[in-house]
């Protein structure tokens, strides 16, 4: 109403039942791209103004994102973008590796021709983004690729849980992709997914498992290496633990 600089303070009325989804997807995109930084507080009123809706759909959107663990809500003190918990990275990697191996195994076992087509399209898009040197596109395409693999397994439970972890992985990747590009150039990132496609195309379950595991290890190794060498940590180290962990 009064905010002319807001990104989409359009006066067009969404169709009934779409406002909350609109806000949810908008916020999710900004969270996954780190446009909204981890730990950043989310002001309901401000968001509602920026989307041109009332607080109700914003509230609903934040709730949904909270269930996805993309935001954490503090009782009576609003919500913040879920901090990236560096201390919990090993835990995350353990969970991701497990799901990634299993999801890729399932994809190799149960994929249809249509699934394989979709996966190959995603892989091509990823390679295109790499050739174009577009970090943001690479992250999106990488995410889409693995989502497609997850769906090719035709197990909704696995696809969903794998997808949730991929959201977090995307944010971890976002943190160090610039570093990766600077240090490794395009060589190491090119054709990342071709061995995935090969194994899935050949329906080679064991090879799919190995590929997925190798991918996890590579991701972990690169992230930790980036952490060590990153001169400018433009992210906050969140030392607080979500749950009682005492290591």
């Amino acid at each position: 109403m009064q905010d002319s600089t807001s990104p989409d303070a359009t006066t067009i009325k969404y169709r009934k039942g779409s406002s909350a989804s609109e806000v949810c997807e908008g916020l999710r995109r900004r969270i996954l791209t780190l446009e909204l930084r981890p730990g950043e507080p989310l002001d309901e009123t401000q968001i509602s103004r920026s989307f041109g809706v009332s607080r109700s759909p914003v509230r609903e959107a934040i709730n949904r994102l909270g269930a996805e663990r993309l935001v954490v809500t503090l009782p009576n003190r609003g919500a913040v973008v879920a901090p990236i918990d560096l201390m919990g990275f090993p835990h995350f990697m353990a969970a991701l590796d497990l799901q990634q191996r299993f999801a890729t195994r399932l994809a190799a076992r149960h994929r249809t021709t249509a699934d394989l087509d979709r996966i190959e399209v995603r892989a091509a898009e990823f390679n295109a983004a790499v050739r174009a040197f577009e970090p943001m596109d690479m992250l999106q395409a990488n995410y889409d690729f693995h989502i497609a693999v997850g769906e090719a397994g035709h197990n909704p439970y696995v696809a969903r849980q794998y997808g949730e972890l991929l959201s977090d992985a995307r944010r971890y990747l976002h943190i160090h992709i610039e570093f990766l590009i600077q240090t490794e150039g395009r060589s190491l990132l090119r054709d990342q997914h071709d061995d995935f496609v090969s194994a899935i195309r050949a329906r080679d379950v064991e090879e799919a498992d190995r590929v997925a595991h190798r991918h996890s290890l590579q991701f972990e190794e690169r992230f930790l290496r980036a952490l060590r060498h990153m001169p400018d940590p433009n992210f906050r180290i969140e030392a607080d633990t979500a749950e009682g962990d005492t290591p």
Copy 2:
């Protein structure tokens, strides 16, 4: 008709910030115990009356439960208790087995003495419920036991995803526990979890894996056997799938 026994249509005012949680937990309990049957529609107004609050916190609660996949929301047509998808049971079992094995492995590897204590308490509670022949208590204790195992692994990602699957497992179990008790008596259900405890106490990771896998297989086998022999299916077979199925 189900609201003649409104659990807490009291006029006591919850403290601010607790209404939605109260409704959420109340609904969750009734969903997990099948007091609210799969596929049953959830009327916001009715629920709000039965809890003595307005529709806002009910809406929030339903959203949260939707994120837990305990209810599914149909656009502009409200929400229903998540149907139990019998066609998807094999998919569910695949996901559960994976997480159960991994979660139990982690518990054997990383459990503290306090964790082991908690697990043993839960196991004792379960055995007590079995001896008392109380099906509802058995379900609750079984759920609590496996949740405790999940938490003993000290990996929040795994504990969370395992816990989500355990909610579904609890509903599947609810369907056929009466049958199990009738056909197998107390012999087969007693000391179900003692081998879990042994492996976790001994920190024997491989044995924990085997125990967890055996448990999964036993659960699957019993459920399928119950399905074949159940003379009175007091549940609705929901053939429709939540996503992408032509209605």
